[in-house]
Symmetry: C2
Subunit: 154 residues, 2 copies
Amino acid sequence: MQDNHINAITRATKSILTSHLGVEVSMNEPVVIKDTSVPAKAISVILGVNGQLEGQIICSMEADTAKSIIGTMMGGMTIEAIDDMGWSAIQEFGNWIAGTTATELSKEACTIDVTPPVINEGSSKFRSAETFVSLPLESTIGAINVHVSIKQER
Amino acid sequence: MQDNHINAITRATKSILTSHLGVEVSMNEPVVIKDTSVPAKAISVILGVNGQLEGQIICSMEADTAKSIIGTMMGGMTIEAIDDMGWSAIQEFGNWIAGTTATELSKEACTIDVTPPVINEGSSKFRSAETFVSLPLESTIGAINVHVSIKQER
């Protein structure tokens, strides 16, 4: 995985949180996961990538962070439990990241398609043939780990 | 989701199990999931779809079924626990389904790209904005549920 691609994905995720949600974000160094698996937090948004890059971008967060994202998207509501409208909002959040990631990568002369998001809810692990690079984002609404597992197209 | 697309995905999965693994497969009627989520079994292989269709194909199975698949792929070994080589085999199984699904859909004049597989391990649920159609496959090595959530491209 090339550094400029990782940086483009990082810019995309940070810009969604900052410009769309008005949340302050800082990022620690990307971590190359030595193990063949990454642990998921309670809620993961999975985006499939095809085109010049192939693989997955997985945004993983605790339920409280997801509730804060939903609440912010709904204009500052407090969310007690995630209902169907809440899940819709998280899917839309995934769509934003997908769109912005495609745009940022196109600036690096890299054309990709991103699938609509699918959400995984529950305690689980992800495994890929490709090494995961994990981007640890810290924000005022909690931590979001972005696990990236992509390779150049075949 | 069109019936001919569902049928193509069904043919692809059945043909992998039958021709590559020599397993007898029968299928119950596809189920349209009314709920916005589907429960995952212990191991799910997630394939992202882009192109004229967009979404996910998720093959979900219990660990024993995964072990049987791995054992059969390795020439009839008995698998006690899934190690890195075993996870590789399950990823390859996912690649087979991806490739065959793309081929079967191309026969329906539908061009898609499928991502490399990512595996989700653990008890969890999947949620998508698109309705899931679930294909319940029964085989001599156990049940595999294929959850399909795809829509025509935007």
